[in-house]
């Protein structure tokens, strides 16, 4: 175990997605010391895997680029990737956090040249493509990855493939002896920006995600539309690579459902409305989108976007929770259900069905410290106890199912809450 690397004047931000990066940067730009711990090899989180944002249809990587530039220029933030929190002890203003740093098997000497990837032939499921594609077992997570350093997948460490990667690196950056480390740090406040994960679509059995190749999730659809994605941005369906022009979007896939997630995941309506425009972008008037919904929750000014999509002749809306999907002989998903506005039964065949998958807090699977207070869906409300005990905060989608804009607001607010703790600690120490 290495020695402490921070003080109680520092803030720990857990999670390097857009919320975590925002919380870290906003605090750092106020002059505070921040440790940003991310469990994967790169910052960027889930938004880096989106093609466009609603409602502006701009690209998430654009904001990521700005945040990375803020980060590169700010020495107050110490970034630790492949790092997870093992334990938190202590109290507000004085926490001791044990971090586990997993080996990347590539040192800071990496220049990002890619020779190791070229040398290796073993492949793994690409975690940044939701398993839709493979990547070499020595890989750069994605084009916007930060740090811009390759990763050696543990599966090839100790194999000839690993040795190939090592031999290929002219800069001696591949270190196959790298070991997991445990680090203990002292911080005054902790921001949990651990984000969300897509609900396990296979659990929504009537939709057959685990049985039908052409039933995919909304996050996977983002990858299909993204020029950086596995199809180079072409909307091709998984079963046969056929152009998917007639696409069903199924809302509340896992959300608003006592059998799955009790809460409404907020973003999915807008995500599907946005994705209908990917279909339009790809196929023009030849594309066809059908949105199956219970309520379209295009809240506040998002209503504009909804109205715009409603006017799009390629998009139609069916007020219905789809009852089930079956597959026909051509692997087309056939949706069965009833349009409840007046009761119209349908059995409609599409090229592809996209499940607007619900948001589950990532921390649902992570053990948070015992004194965190979670709501019934596992979102972080704060610490247990009184106002005086609040030294750890949720931010972004870890605290509530939020869209990006609201996540960033939430993260900015969390940064101030952490700063307040630091301020009070400092004052106490002065006294």
């Amino acid at each position: 175990m290495t020695a402490s690397i921070a003080t109680s004047q520092a803030i720990l931000v857990v999670g390097g997605g857009i919320s975590g990066m925002t919380a870290a940067l906003e605090a750092a730009e106020c002059g505070k010391q921040v440790i940003l711990a991310e469990k994967t090899p790169t910052l960027g989180g889930r938004t880096a895997l989106l093609y466009r944002y609603f409602p502006k249809m701009c690209h998430p990587t654009c904001g990521l680029e700005i945040n990375l530039r803020r980060l590169k220029g700010n020495r107050n933030v110490r970034v630790m990737t492949m790092t997870e929190v093992l334990a938190v002890t202590g109290r507000r203003g004085d926490y001791t956090v044990t971090l586990k740093v997993s080996p990347r098997y590539v040192t800071e000497s990496c220049t990002g040249c890619g020779d190791c990837a070229n040398a290796v032939s073993a492949e793994i499921d690409n975690p940044y493509e939701y398993g839709l594609a493979k990547t070499r077992a020595a890989y750069l997570p994605h084009a916007m990855a930060y740090p811009q350093r390759y990763v050696i997948d543990p599966s090839i460490v100790g194999t000839p493939e690993g040795e190939k990667a090592k031999a290929a690196c002219k800069f001696g950056a591949v270190d196959l002896e790298m070991k997991e480390e445990t680090v203990e740090i002292k911080v005054g406040a902790v921001i949990w920006a651990t984000g969300w994960k897509p609900y396990d679509a296979a659990k929504i059995q009537p939709y057959g995600y685990d049985r039908f190749a052409n039933v995919i999730t909304s996050v996977e659809f983002e990858r299909l539309a993204d020029p950086h994605g596995p199809t180079g941005g072409k909307i091709l369906r998984p079963s046969d690579g056929k152009e998917a022009k007639d696409i069903a979007f199924i809302q509340c896939a896992g959300s608003r459902d006592e059998n799955h997630l009790r809460h409404c995941s907020r973003i999915c309506c807008m995500a599907s409305l946005k994705q209908t425009q990917y279909v339009r972008e790809a196929w023009g008037d030849a594309g066809k989108s059908t949105v199956y919904y219970i309520d379209i929750r295009a809240i506040d000014r998002f209503e504009d976007f909804y109205q715009m999509v409603q006017k799009d002749a390629t998009v139609s809306f069916v007020k219905s929770k789809v009852a089930k999907i079956v597959e026909d002989k051509e692997s087309n998903p056939v949706l069965h259900g009833v349009d409840t506005e007046g009761y119209h039964r349908y059995a409609t065949t599409h090229d592809l069905a996209v499940l607007a998958i619900g948001m589950e807090p990532e921390a649902n699977g992570i053990k948070l410290p015992d004194d965190m207070l979670l709501d019934s869906s596992g979102f972080i409300e704060g610490c247990k106890g009184t106002a005086e005990d609040q030294g750890m905060f949720g931010a972004g989608a870890a605290s509530s199912p939020l869209d990006v804009n609201r996540s960033v607001q939430s993260a900015t607010a969390a940064a101030l809450r952490a700063i307040k703790v630091i301020h009070k600690t400092a004052r106490t120490e002065q006294v």
Partner: protein
Amino acid sequence: MADNKFAAYICSGCGLGDQLDIKTLEKIALKEGKMQVVKSHPFLCNAEGVQMINDDVEKEGVTHVCIAACSRRSKTEAFHFPTVAMSRANLREGVIWVVAAGEAHDEVRQEMADDYVRMGCAELKKMKLPAGNPDKAHSKRILVVGGGMSGLTAAFEAAEAGYETLVVEKQAQLGGWAANLWKRVPFKAPYTEPQDTGLADLAAKVGSHPLIKVHLNSTVAETAGAPGRFAVKIAQESGAVTEETVGAIVQATGFTGYDIAKLPELGGGQANVVDQAGLESMARAANGATIKRADGKDVKSVVFLQCAGQRDDSGKHLPYCSGHCCATSIKQAMYFKNANPDIDTVVVYQDLRVPGMGEDFYRSAQEKGVTFTKGKASGVESSGNGCKVSFRDLILDEETSINADLVVLATGQVPSAGVELDAWTEVTNAADGGSAEAKQQKIVMHKSSVLNLTYRQGPDLPQFKYGFADSHFICFPYETRRTGIYAAGPVRRPMDLLQATEDATGAALKAIQAVENASLGRAAHPRSGDLSYPLVRLEGCTQCKRCTVECPFGAIDEDEKRFPVFNEQRCRRCGTCMGACPVRVISFENYSVDTVGSQIKAVDMPDEFSERPRILILACENDAYPALDMAGLSRTVYSAFVRVIPVRCLGSVNTIWITDALNSGFDGVMMMGCKKGDDYQCHFVKGSELAHYRMSKIGDTLTQLGLEPERVVTQEVAITDNQRVVTLINDYVAQINELGMSPMKGFN
């Protein structure tokens, strides 16, 4: 200049040494680049390479460093030399990763690298390490305009973080809209019952906080200055004026309810039809007992009509959704059910919008027996001793009606954001043109201002759609266009109390950040931490006003003689003023007409018979340049005839660079910027738009030079366009080849 020492470091790692002749590059840096120190290294970014550079800086007195290696976006931790000026020549992502492999391309590849070294050195020669503005602004006090839930939250949060705060509230008491509420929607689990608003507690804490000063019955009569040194006049109703200096401002001026009188078709104006605010008053009066109507009758049946005057596409009412109203009606229906479960409560909705945990609140209301029906109301008439609500039940697919004692219309939020600046500019221009009517209009308009900024570009925050003072950006909700002034709460976007308190907390942080930045002379987002600032040679200024008009952040005022007055603390360092200036008197220490101009001129120009055109690309550093980098990362080949210069924003592109490029023999110029229009993606608001506009004006110049207009193009490039950008380049090179070499070649 005597103390300056210029050095170039050339890396031969990552295959640079294999594909390029490093010796030639060294020679160019030394001879043409006039670098005093030139060194190459097989692995420049490793500890040893970095040490070599640091040693030169510390021991040899090197003040300027050109790194000829990878892209300026790579290895930033290694190449971090805060005490010297630095340029980066992009030989990896910009040359060897994008030029076709093989000997056949050796020559063009080397030419490209040679040019980038020349350009890196030329840029460096013109650069200075920004020293920061000595004119720092030190006030760290925060002004909060508006004493409602958002304003009080912002004030309290800022004060708790140790910042002195002023609250200006126009009413005689704190509380704003929330003071009218009987209860609020729950913020935390179990999301089943209406909760106390917590306002009284918060107002008391604010009132007694040692760092908070509250001005009641007061408005902001004038705001001058800039972050760290705003001079604010606070006018009391009585007429007394207090002057205060503050460092940053949070505008939490809230909203008003949409006027129910505008909805006669839904019974607006009838005795037994109220809006949600009206119902709150009735609920407060009842205080938990059965709610009574104005005529004293107990309400035994109530109908809530959602989206009243909202989500309207006819142009008559509000087009947007106010977000909170579904949950608010649910809460209000609970007021009735909790008092007496036998009261019939029906909510007529089109889409029930209770995102997140609001779903639990909805369920709770259903459990209490609130009836929800998807329908569209067509009219409310008085009937008997109540109202008859006619609507189409969309589930049962029929026209139907309900009789009720009371109808509640869920109307929307109308932001109180002050003066709309486009209208203001129009009126101002007309007034300046002598229109008496316009002058009068301007006075009336001014009275509705919230902040009364003395800014050249108008008295309030620029408004986004529908009068909300929101940020335009998804990733950056606090990216204000008036540095140091942040909107919070429903004035920025329709929202509920929970969101408003989150938003106010975030805005308080941004205000704190703004005062900290101002005190250090640093730029705020997106060029956070930038110490450069615009320098102006006023003696050359022609008072053309372009800079003051085009500055996206209203940073530049005018003095009495109509000279521009730069307010550095408001400036975001985009360089739009520099691009605008026809006489080129505006510059930054590390980014100027010269730093770019000299790069353009440094490019070695093959003669017209060489069949090697040269295309200049001016690429926005946030989107187009990363896209080009990523093309390199994926080893996508594009023409080796292009030379790329990153710019802060297309708005900073001065037309002189275009004419310089064409004069020096470039065969074409491509400008790559962000998307423009309503959904613009430029973080400096209108860089692309300005570039388009400016280029449309240089058509004549081109014609005079005998050049085809196609030789200058502007393109919208997104950061994801790493494939498309290659196509754009290659197509353009083909087009230029078609046109033939520039006739300007050889004149220099």
